[in-house]
Amino acid sequence: MLARRRFLQVGLAGVALLGVARLMQRPEMPAYFRVLDGGSAPLIRALVPVVLAGSLPTREPERDVAIQEVVEAFDRAVAGLTPAVQGEIDDLLGVLCFGPTRLVLTGLWTPIEMAGGEEIAQFLTRWRTGRFDLLRAGYQALTQLIQASWYDNPTAWAVIGYPGPPQMPGRS
């Protein structure tokens, strides 16, 4: 989604910042994640209820289970991308996890996982209609991966009125 070069063209984030964001060690995650780590998993977890507002279950524990399933599906989806595209996603998550680049690109003073839903929605909206291609690309990458990670979940089908695939004759 975001080649590093694009960031530089934009002139918002400098080489140094980006280099540091890339080099920053992000905490490790339990082994069941393939690509997400201790920095990016909570970030995605914070984005999910904003991107899918109005579609997730409202009651606990169903809501929490659904959010967790979306984060896990997001991880699987990214793991299924080519190494080159995975690297771009990793760069994108890296700049969102690293304070200085996050502040410059999203305007958020706090880590995204500590921000309110309204603040997250505001930065996504700014990215969505941003002047720079890379912000719009970043917006589309994050929202589409989260949406793709939710709408094949049978819990979502009940909400959107999708009856699921037809029963096949001769199959259990």
């Binding site: 599906a73 080519t82 190494p83 969505r128 793709a148 709408y151 695939p165 037809p166």
Partner: protein, 531 residues
């Protein structure tokens, strides 16, 4: 009633199938012909070459998946059967490309729409690209041959509501429309063609030409990515392949070396140029990987008063060529109107926006109708297509800047689709664009669409048809292969896939690829069995 799985039955019969991702040592194999790619071009070529008595290997980057595992689930099908999990994108991320990556290639996952190359396209190739032999009369026997082979025929079943809305809207407005022929046999009208046909009704390469070739002794190498050719003077001596796991990472450190008298490249219009680029093949006129076309498509979603259930039933059964037929190459960008199925992930990632506004539309999924407009690119000088480039890791990426000329065509297409949807009774129409909101009248749609900023990553643009980049032609300064599909500089290399088209087609490409591959493979078989 249960559905036999012709792939599992074939393996039980003793088909020669090798999984490159599971190789435990380097291997070197030798054949008469190595066919790289198992989609529309590779499948047809492999069948014809084996029928001629040649010892053929078919090398496919994706897995050998078959009907037993086609469960009509998007989250399983997209990562397993598509390039880059159905999320392949152009270099600037502005266009998402749906392209198969499995045995059968895109024919395993396409929506079965079957059109001959439009006469107007052939005429343009003769007039502007020097393809004197591309007459309707010359191509007719090849179309007929492949239509018979793949059961391509008008489909007698009524269109689903998603398609019928397109038909009714066009009828109201006096726009021509027609029924789409399909390559199916015993289709149950389920609607899940894009996830692999669970009943083997779709006459894709997976269940037709490839089983026929394997029954005649061909060898299938699955999960093998051809990295590069080795040359000796003007001849290809071998190609080197590596095992590929899901996701595209290299799985096997072991090399597979394939030697042959002749090589047929049929890896699609991104894959074929990328193999030649990695091989540093001769490209004296700088034509390789250039003029790549996409039929870039814009989307219009409507909310209808009655249920549409566009996730069920043949995905594409109605089309309109009203805005393409008779449009001169020097005129505005022409477009073909079709419908798109409304499975949850596909719609979820296509509808713009997020949060409550997005969820409200998704909650109406059974009422959603999806119209798409495919632009005919490559005819006008201001539509020069894209270029296949290699990333630093050698993987291909298509650089396709959308020209102002095409953006204007896309705006026109969004207008026409909204007009058609309202004519068919839509309650709301959403032009699929980041700056658009659902509108309730045609008048409101017109005002909105005329004001939309048409630019990358604002309008959502899709492609399911990659064409060009290894154009055929008589003049080596303007093409990569001859009209017979033979590489201009490499004596024993042919290209038989969608990359040989000098422009886009203005119609879904499978039948054009089948027919060209059959024509070229018959010529090749004759020349290889003569010597």
């Amino acid at each position: 009633m249960s559905f036999p799985d012709p792939i599992r039955l074939g393996i039980d019969r003793g088909w020669k199938v090798l999984d490159a991702a599971a190789m435990e040592r380097d291997q070197a194999l030798e054949f008469d012909v190595v066919v790289i790619g198992s989609g529309a071009g590779g499948g047809v070529s492999a069948e014809i070459l084996t029928q001629a008595g040649l010892n053929v290997a078919i090398v496919e980057e994706g897995p050998l998946a078959s009907s037993t595992e086609f469960k009509m689930r998007e989250r399983e099908a997209y990562p397993r059967l598509y390039q880059e999990s159905a999320g392949r994108q152009t270099r600037d991320k502005a266009i998402t490309i749906l392209q198969g990556r499995c045995v059968g290639g895109s024919t395993t996952v396409n929506w079965t729409s079957s059109f001959r190359t439009p006469p107007q396209t052939l005429a343009h190739w003769r007039a502007a690209h020097g393809l004197a032999s591309m007459t309707e009369a010359a191509m007719q026997p090849w179309f007929e041959r492949m239509e018979e082979r793949l059961a391509i025929a008008p489909w007698p079943v009524a269109p689903n509501e998603n398609n019928d809305i397109l038909r009714r809207g066009c009828e109201k407005l006096g726009y021509s429309s027609g029924a789409i022929a399909r390559n199916v046999s015993g289709c149950l009208n389920l609607g899940y063609c894009g996830m692999g046909c669970p009943t083997n009704a779709k006459q894709s390469m997976l269940v037709t030409t490839i089983p026929a070739a394997l029954d005649r002794g061909a060898t299938l190498v699955q999960r093998a990515r051809v990295m590069r050719f080795a040359f000796d003077g003007d001849r290809v001596t071998s190609c080197e392949a590596r095992g590929v796991a899901s996701g595209g990472a290299e799985a096997s450190p072991h090399r597979l070396s394939l030697r042959a008298r002749h090589f047929v490249l049929a890896a699609g219009a991104i894959g074929s140029p990328s193999i030649l680029l990695r091989s540093q093949a001769p490209d004296p006129a700088l034509t390789l990987g250039r003029r790549t076309f996409l039929h870039p498509a814009v989307v219009s979603a409507a909310v209808m008063p009655k249920a549409v259930n566009g996730f069920y039933g043949a995905p594409q059964s109605i089309y309109s060529d009203h805005f393409i037929e008779g449009v001169s190459p020097s005129g505005p960008a022409a477009f073909k109107l079709e419908s798109g199925p409304t499975h949850p992930i596909l719609v979820g990632i296509t509808l713009p926006g997020f949060g409550a506004a997005h969820s409200q539309l998704m909650a109406r999924l059974p009422h959603v109708q999806v119209a798409i407009a495919l632009l005919r690119d490559g005819f006008h000088p201001d539509s020069a297509g894209g270029r296949v480039l290699l990333r630093s890791d050698g993987s291909p990426v298509l650089d396709y800047p959308i020209s102002e000329y095409l953006w204007q065509g896309m705006r026109q297409a969004l207008l026409v689709m909204a007009e058609v949807q309202f004519a068919a009774g839509a309650d709301q129409v959403l032009p699929v664009h980041e700056a658009a909101r659902p509108v309730r009248t045609w008048h409101e749609a017109r005002t909105t669409i005329e004001a939309l900023p048409m630019k990358a990553l604002a309008a959502r643009v899709m492609s399911a048809h990659v064409m060009g980049g290894c154009a055929m032609g008589a003049d080596p300064r303007e093409s990569v292969v001859t009209e017979a599909g033979r590489h201009h500089q490499l004596a024993n290399l042919s290209i038989h896939d969608g990359s040989i088209f000098p422009t886009s087609l203005g119609a879904n490409p499978q039948v054009s690829i089948y027919a060209q591959a059959a024509r070229m493979a018959m010529g090749l078989a004759a020349s290889l069995t003569r010597t």
